[in-house]
């Protein structure tokens, strides 16, 4: 009984993930959005090691985070434009 329940849960879990994986918005946008907290972690650690005063840390981290994200978006737009021009 317990094994059957586990198998059913596993099947439902796999199926739901398969459905989610089939949605382009889920796979594409979620992957991009998952980069935002990662960039925040990188910004935080970088500024934590470089910033002498911790009081200045939040603004410095936000500025670095915005810079990196902005650069990534700019790079993406640039590459897209190049692709559109030459495709």
């Amino acid at each position: 009984m317990r094994r059957a329940k586990q198998e059913t849960e596993r099947y439902v879990y796999s199926l739901s993930l398969a459905i989610l994986a089939a949605m382009p918005m889920f796979t594409g946008l979620s992957r991009l959005l998952m980069l935002l907290p990662l960039v925040l972690a990188v910004s935080l650690v970088h500024k934590m090691l470089k910033q002498p005063k911790l009081a200045d840390l939040p603004m410095a981290v936000l500025a670095l985070w915005a810079t990196i994200v902005g650069a990534m978006i700019g790079l993406g737009i640039g590459l897209l434009l190049i692709y559109k021009l030459f495709a």
Binding site: V45, M48, L49
Partner: protein
Amino acid sequence: MAQRMTSRSGPERPNPAVIGLAAWAIPGLGHWLLGHRARGVILFVTIVATYWTGVFVGGVRYTVDPSGNMLWFVAQLGVGPQVVALWLATVRQLIPPAVPWPDADIAIIYAGIAGLLNMLVILDAIGRASGDEPADPAAEQKSL
């Protein structure tokens, strides 16, 4: 452990090797031992949260997988013994197989980046312990 004096700051500083090992064992512990306690806590939370976000998204067996992603696994080792423990648990089949998140490659990136960030933290802690960088925990406490 042997303590040594530095020529620059005067007071005793811990052995850089010990600080480096501590920073590897527990992210942020090196800074904590040097007196930068706020920094140590924030670094610990950031690196551990980043690593475990990757593990939770991708699952242990997929994320901590030297056979499939050797270089990323080496990067993960920077987080410390918890990676080795997870790997051993995987090898000994203590963790059941699970269906990974559809975008599980982002999980490996999270875990690997966490390890690389902790390597930076380790180097910074060793540098502070060696007297290469100014260590002024008192000023840091005042700035909070």
